[in-house]
């Protein structure tokens, strides 16, 4: 059992929300007090430990206190209660290139920035070439940094900060710096730091990333620790929270919208009476595991349409990526309708080829020639949770498998 590298013990941090901010002496004196404000606990009694050499992520919605906690760890903010004990040399990647002086050259700024981060000149001398080549700025290192592009600027800042060789590294939302190639190198550097036993605390909005790089994740909500545990479990739990919140909000919005519609005119009844996802056993669901069977069920009122219908379905990831669009390919005849005049169409997927993430199904009812849309249904969100094959990322799961052989003749 390795000992904890970071101990967070009952940490609380309060901020003042000023109603009238006194920046000046005059307003302070005139009002006879500093300023009126409301107290707001950004962190409230958070305790946990980080094992030496492990990587832990902090997640939570905006305002949940994760960045505040990171700043307390970095000793930029002083907690109002509790204490944080960190053993080892700390480096915080909160902002890259903080303290760069625009008129100084890249070289001068490397030395300056490194000493701000606590490195001695000798240490920088040893790593100078690494820092410069990692940033890919060999040709520009004697140019004043004000002539750098913003990408170059951030790359140099990142390169200095990551080469401090910390024992505890605090990272805030900056893993996505630079182009693809630089990100690859950064990811490698992180892996290298991890291998060398560096303890890493990460704040990121990219849940995919948290899942893949963190062993443990802390979930914060309104400044309180809600859960801590294995990254996959906690991220799923968090997604669950987010989903529930979203549902509640959507329901509330719908209720409000309905309240706005005058009551004497009956609201139009949608043609689609059912648009849902069913799991293996035929129960409605809003999550699906990668590679599990999934069925999309659509029920619409064929009698009111009065002509054949082509049902079109699409999947989009919530960031807008278009995954697939498909339709029945023919018009579903009126004769299919049951006694109540409705038609139910199932689209069965034997093994869902999607990777972890949040997606949306969209549904539209067309005429046979796809020229007219009868109705577009409200989009249906669903979450894909990881299946059995973990070592992959991206959009689709190809469902293939590796076969190795001694030689190919």
């Amino acid at each position: 059992m390795s000992r904890p590298a970071v101990v967070v013990d009952d940490v609380a941090k309060k901020f003042k929300l000023f109603h009238e901010r006194h920046d000046s002496l005059k307003s302070t004196i005139l009002s006879g007090r500093r300023a009126r404000y409301e107290e707001f606990w950004a962190l409230d009694g958070v305790s946990f430990e980080v094992r030496e050499g492990s990587t832990i992520g902090l997640i939570g919605e905006n305002g949940s206190g994760k960045s505040t906690l990171l700043k307390c760890m970095a000793r930029i903010l002083l907690p109002d209660r509790g204490r944080i004990t960190i053993s080892g040399k700390v480096s915080a990647l909160l902002e890259l290139g903080a303290g760069f002086h625009p008129d100084l050259s890249g070289r001068e700024n490397v030395y300056l920035n490194a000493s701000i981060l606590g490195m001695s000149k000798k240490e920088v001398d040893l790593r100078f070439d690494d820092i410069v080549s990692f940033a890919g700025l060999e040709r520009f290192i004697d140019t004043p940094v004000k002539n750098y592009s913003s990408g170059m600027y951030v790359r140099l800042g990142f390169s200095v900060a990551i080469n401090v060789e910390p024992e505890v590294l605090l990272v805030d939302e900056i893993l996505a710096v630079g182009d693809e190639e630089f990100q690859e190198r950064s990811a490698e550097k992180f892996a290298e730091l991890k291998r060398s036993g560096c303890t890493i605390v990460v704040v990121s909005h990219s849940l995919d990333q948290m899942r893949s790089i963190c062993e443990e994740v802390v979930l914060l909500e309104h400044g309180k620790l809600v859960a801590i545990g294995k990254s996959g479990e906690i991220v799923d739990k968090y997604l669950g929270h987010v989903r529930d919140d979203r549902r509640a909000r959507e329901a509330e919005e719908r209720a409000r919208y309905r309240a706005l519609v005058p009551t004497d005119e009956p609201a139009e009844i949608p043609l689609v009476s059912c648009f849902e996802l069913l799991d293996d056993e035929g129960h409605p669901t809003s999550t699906a595991r990668s590679n599990d069977p999934l069925t999309v069920r659509v029920t619409y009122d064929a009698r009111r349409i009065g002509e054949p219908v082509r049902v079109a379905l699409s999947i989009y990831r919530t960031d807008g990526a278009h995954v697939v669009s498909l339709n029945t390919g023919y018009g579903i005849a009126m004769g299919e309708a049951g006694e109540d005049g409705s038609v139910t169409v199932d689209y069965r997927i034997p093994s869902l080829p999607l990777q972890t993430g949040v997606y949306e199904w969209s549904l539209a009812l067309h005429d046979t020639d796809m020229l007219h849309i009868f109705e577009r249904a409200e989009r249906l969100r669903f979450d894909v949770t990881p299946g059995d094959f973990h070592d992959q990322r991206g959009l689709v799961d190809l469902g293939g498998e590796f076969v190795t052989r001694g030689s190919v003749s």
């Binding site: 920046d23 930029i76 915080a92 008129d103 001068e108």
Partner: protein, 284 residues
């Protein structure tokens, strides 16, 4: 071996290398883009000197005291011996007061002892001051004042003055971070302090005159030469004049005055800074 770092780690080694690098940044930033570069730190005081000498010795006909025992009788030199330490003080106070607000990105994003910011501002002006003192020493040698044996004393006085200035810097810089209009207040107070100190006007002007200035029925003019002894800057300015203009050792009282004001200033500045430091990142 790993060490357990406790917060706040005041016992931790003061980052002298960081201090030096920040000082260099200030100095380089000051002169980097100018053609004359460091030459400006010489030209500035020279122009200042010319203006003040013209106004006071030619227009206003102020009579400078005669150097005792040096016998030097030159208003320009008398003035500049007092003016250089003052400009060091005033530049340092203004520079350090702005140092925290100017570097707020750094303060909000990186942890390091915040006192290095005002301190590096003071040090960068100290470097300019030492260059200016060097120029002055050369000029004094040219006009025949043998200042060389006195230079060690100049350094001792400069060390005391730096301590005094550092105390002011540590006091004012966090206050300015909390209250932004300290900036304007500081500028005004420095103006008042400048004219309240016999830098451009010899205090002898007020000794044994029949001038009157009544406040609440009292003529305050005769009291000024006595009151002015309590102005710490007066002691420093006179000490520089003692060793550079008059070529004599400052009196014991003067040494004590400088020592006490430097100590008090450092103590108060240090205490205020330590008290306000933890919340700087929030207040900026």
């Amino acid at each position: 071996m790993k060490t357990r770092s406790e917060r706040p780690s005041l016992a931790k080694r003061f980052p002298s290398e960081l201090l030096w690098n920040l000082t260099l940044r200030e100095l380089r930033g000051k002169f980097k883009r100018s053609t004359l570069g460091w030459g400006w730190s010489i030209i500035n005081p020279v122009v200042f000197l010319l203006i003040y000498s013209f106004v006071f010795s030619i227009v206003l006909r102020a009579v400078p005291p005669v150097g005792d025992p040096s016998g030097l009788h030159n208003y320009a030199f008398w003035l500049v011996c007092g003016l250089l330490p003052w400009t060091f003080l005033s530049n340092s106070v203004i520079g350090s007061a702005a140092s925290l607000t100017a570097n707020q990105d750094l303060v909000k994003k990186v942890y390091f002892p915040r006192s290095v910011l005002p301190t590096s501002a003071v040090l960068s002006w100290l470097v300019s001051f030492l260059i200016e003192l060097g120029v002055l020493a050369v000029a004094l040698l040219i006009v025949g004042n043998m200042v060389l044996p006195w230079l060690p004393l100049v350094l001792v006085i400069t060390a005391l003055l730096t301590a005094f200035v550092l105390g002011l810097a540590l006091l004012i810089s966090p206050l300015q971070a909390y209250f932004r209009d300290m900036e304007h207040l500081t500028t005004i107070l420095l103006q008042v302090w400048f004219w309240a100190t016999p830098i451009v006007w010899p205090v002898t002007l007020l000794e044994g005159t029949d001038r009157t200035f009544t406040v609440l029925g009292y003529n305050i003019i005769p009291a000024i030469p006595n009151l002015i002894r309590f102005n710490p800057v007066f002691q420093f300015v006179e000490a520089y004049r003692d060793v550079l203009y008059d070529l004599r050792v400052p009196s014991l009282g003067r040494w004590l005055g400088m020592l006490i004001s430097a100590t008090i200033s450092i103590l108060i500045g240090g205490l205020v800074f330590r008290r306000l430091e933890p919340r700087l990142a929030e207040e900026l």
